[in-house]
């Protein structure tokens, strides 16, 4: 323990941080002004090094996608003979664009549905008191505890009986509301002050409007996170789409990519190219939504 355990030793230094209040959450010791740029530089450096470690497998994936099939196991990060041949092969020999479109449709619609229903349910569970609240919450939460592998057969029987196989709805229906998101939103709605909601009620807002106009904007960071993960989860979903999809045209990307593997091994050069292309939309979604996570700071007006 150094000076951070001496609360009143450096009041001035702490005061200096007012301009960037978020730093208050840090444990970095800041004794003198000259240390701050150094500390900051170190922080950037350490996070950069860590970050490079994090992206290493991704970089390897992209590098491999640019290698010829016979070079795929040359373990250099720089392709000896860079080629776009794998990409061309994937695009020419499979309905990749169609798979991409299917995944996009499924992921976007599911994300919109989850964002709406999960925030609504999360809000109700966090802010309403009514008989059965705890039971309903646990009931919903308990659905997370059953592995998908055990549910696919009943779902498939259901899909056959209702004629949902080989359709977008068939792929999407198990995921249009998620207990995971309900739990997330509930946790964040719990932090919304009750005073605000009560004040809005007195002002004559309808219950739905209070949710939509008052409470929801306050949990934007969580909502953004939920959108990212729902999109990603559905973009990558494999077990269920594989079973419910019959035709090659209705495959989603992960299902399509799985067909590059077979009994005699996997065509890793094609898998890497397809996987690299599959990553692009997710990065875009992430870049867009992670800004919303920053904007959450705008809610400093909330009074406790």
């Amino acid at each position: 323990m150094t000076s951070e355990s001496l609360p009143h030793a450096q009041p001035d230094a702490v005061m200096d941080q007012k301009g960037t209040t978020r730093q208050a959450a840090s444990t970095v010791v800041q004794k003198k002004d000259w240390r701050r740029p150094v500390a900051r530089f170190l922080l950037y450096l350490i996070l950069l090094i860590g970050g490079l470690g994090m992206v290493f497998p991704f970089v390897w994936m992209v590098a491999s996608s640019l290698k010829d099939a016979s070079d795929i196991y040359s373990l250099s990060l720089i392709p000896p003979d860079p080629t776009l041949g794998n990409y061309r092969e994937v695009l020419n020999e499979t309905p990749f664009a169609r798979w991409f479109f299917n995944s996009l449709v499924v992921a976007l619609i599911t994300t919109a549905s989850v964002a709406f229903f999960d925030s609504l349910v999360g809000y109700v569970l966090a802010k309403f008191r009514f008989p059965g609240r705890t039971v309903i919450f646990l009931l919903m939460l308990s659905t997370l505890m059953v592995p998908t592998e055990m549910l696919v057969i009943p779902w498939f029987v259901m899909s056959i009986n209702l004629g949902w196989t080989d359709s977008y709805w068939g792929i999407m229906f198990p995921g249009v509301i998620s207990a995971f998101g309900i739990f997330l939103m509930r946790q964040f709605f719990m932090g919304v002050p009750n005073d605000l909601i009560d004040a809005a009620r007195i002002d004559g807002f309808s219950e739905f409007r209070i949710f939509w106009k008052i409470a929801l904007p306050l949990v934007k960071p969580a909502l953004a996170a939920l959108c990212i993960f729902t999109f990603l989860g559905n973009w990558n979903a494999y077990i269920w789409p594989l079973i419910v999809v019959r035709s090659e045209e209705m495959r989603t990307l992960p299902v399509g990519i799985a067909f590059f593997s077979s009994e005699a091994g996997s065509a890793f050069h094609l898998i890497m190219a397809a996987a690299a292309m599959a990553t692009i939309p997710v990065i875009i979604v992430f870049v867009i939504f992670q800004r919303q996570i920053i904007k959450g700071i705008a809610l400093t007006g909330v009074k406790g």
Partner: protein
């Protein structure tokens, strides 16, 4: 007759919950009950007869050494994986939050493992763990003995946990960031006006306000680690939870019983799943009670 405000709120609550409840009952709870029903039978999806055998499958589960091995392993995935993931992600999230420039770039860096295709992840990590791979290279440069990693029953499970932690970090960091960014700036301003140090602010203000986030991450982390499956299937030796069952998890074992064993032991798989389900449910309820005391009731 006028309803009290209280009653009106009840009605609204049920109204808002109606569609989701119908959804959960039909899409999730129903099939789960169906799995429970299967667990009481000698159930094989392909066979024509599926005789009722009562609790026989459960009796066998409690007698099955491999199941208990898988059960113990599953605990290791949870007890090692969850705290490691939380600690790393909190530290990184606090660091990322202090950044002023290149924020988006840095966040993408840490998020990328989470979006890298699972096939690619399994493949690259297996290469890194091979006898001549990156990790052994580093070990030998440091003058340390080489490790068998995935090939050694003593280390294989930790090698897989390292991958799952690495892969889950992006998710946890984003949730932590959302939690940190939701902390009203006024609280922090007030703390610094009061002259609190960085550590004090963190302990007394940030942590309590972060509690719902942490509860969420602990509970979902435990649930997902209790169900770890894909990484084991793609990384463990022969893909079956080896060597010598040292990495097998309950869900992988369930999968093997249901879909790899021939004839299929679907009823037995369902029984194992029910046992796991009960365990997860109990743990979750206890966690919610303890971690979010006050906020929960």
């Amino acid at each position: 007759m006028r309803l009290t405000l209280e009653r009106r709120k009840w009605i609204w609550a049920y109204l808002f919950l109606a569609v989701p409840l119908i959804f959960f009952l039909s899409i999730r709870i129903g099939p789960t009950l169906f799995a429970f029903w299967m667990s009481l039978h000698e159930w094989d999806p392909i066979a024509l007869d599926r005789p009722f055998i009562g609790l026989e499958n459960y009796r066998e589960v409690f007698d099955d050494e491999v199941f208990w091995k898988a059960f113990r392993n599953t605990w290791i995935y949870v007890v090692v994986g969850v705290p490691a993931g939380l600690l790393f992600s909190l530290v990184v999230a606090l660091g990322l939050q202090r950044l002023i420039r290149f924020v988006g770039f840095y966040r993408v860096l840490y998020f990328i493992p989470y979006i890298t295709s699972l096939v690619a992840v399994g493949w690259v990590w297996r290469w890194m763990y091979t006898p001549n791979g990156v990790f052994n290279d580093v070990l030998s440069r440091l003058g340390l003995p080489q490790s068998g990693f995935l090939g050694d029953p003593g280390t294989a499970i930790y090698a897989i946990i390292a991958t799952t932690v690495w892969q889950g970090l992006g998710f946890q960091i984003v949730i932590f960031l959302a939690g940190l960014e939701s902390i009203p700036g006024d609280y922090l301003d007030a703390a610094s006006v009061d002259g609190a140090s960085g550590w004090q602010t963190f302990r007394d203000i940030v942590m309590p306000l972060l509690n719902p986030t942490i509860v969420f991450l602990v509970v979902t982390g435990v649930i997902s680690n209790l169900q770890v499956f894909t990484q084991i299937r793609s990384m463990s030796s022969a893909g079956t939870g080896g060597p010598l069952d040292s990495t097998i998890s309950v869900v992988l074992y369930v999968y093997q019983a249901a879909f790899q064993s021939l004839p299929s032991e679907m009823g037995y798989a369902a029984a194992m799943m029910v046992v796991l389900f009960v365990v997860i449910l109990l743990i979750t309820v206890v966690q919610l009670k303890f971690l979010s005391r006050g906020a929960y009731d």
